[in-house]
Symmetry: C2
Amino acid sequence: MAANVKDILRNNNLSVTGSREKILNLFFEQPGALAHGDIEKRAGEKFDRVTVYRTLQTFVDKGIIHTIPTADNSIRYALCKDDCKEGHHHDHHVHFVCTQCHTTYCLDDVVTPELKLPKGYTSTHIEVVAEGICKNCK
Amino acid sequence: MAANVKDILRNNNLSVTGSREKILNLFFEQPGALAHGDIEKRAGEKFDRVTVYRTLQTFVDKGIIHTIPTADNSIRYALCKDDCKEGHHHDHHVHFVCTQCHTTYCLDDVVTPELKLPKGYTSTHIEVVAEGICKNCK
DNA sequence: TATCAAAAAGCAACGCTGTTGCAAAATTTT
DNA sequence: AAAATTTTGCAACAGCGTTGCTTTTTGATA
């Protein structure tokens, strides 16, 4: 159990509750991103679905985790880096989905590339998801 | 009504049916991508939801349309370019979602950029979705 | 063109995901 | 330790997508 989970919650003005601690810990316990379903399964048991949904939403709102869109249309969540503030996400890194083990990684060191868009188009955010084989499956 | 819709169907060994013609036509009638819901609404008369789902799936299988993952987790569909063959999609272009009119565009001329992935990662496909203001909304 | 086999459409039902309202329980505040 | 606030759990619901089955339509054959 990461010793600072409680602190993270307090620093974000969140009450420290069993479900929040447990769910937040899941993110620290493993490298990849988690889908809602993973969390329900891994949480050991006994959290209401609604609680999980609300907890994740709270974490996203507070900038503790961010969402990752995937091709199979299931939202995944991963920890944010320190520069995410409340209501202000800065996730300019690439995401990677392994087609073999289905793990989703945040490639924090791979920066979203620049794009030359056609005339008239202005982009505020670019999402890049790479699909392939990860380092554990090659 | 695009005159060649029937031909497209025949060329893909698909029976020519009312729903297939109508749905395929919707893609030719407008520039953006379509979500399942859009199709149900726009199809004018009512097609069974299941028929729409199956028709879209068939078109994807045949390489007539391709799917676009979006941040709001609703699958969108758009026409494929000519080099998509059955079971073999080649959509190496960038997608653009307008945050104002919510239209999704295929930017066929903007090619997916190269990425330097960390050691051990190999990517087979890279999906890029840009979000911002489109040429009609600026 | 009439017939027939194969394909597609329509219908009913189901599971899964995510949401909302409300009451009970836990947490924080005093 | 009690009150006030937050969070949880429960029940119910809506929407999306799927599956199995029956009826209708299509395309091939005679």
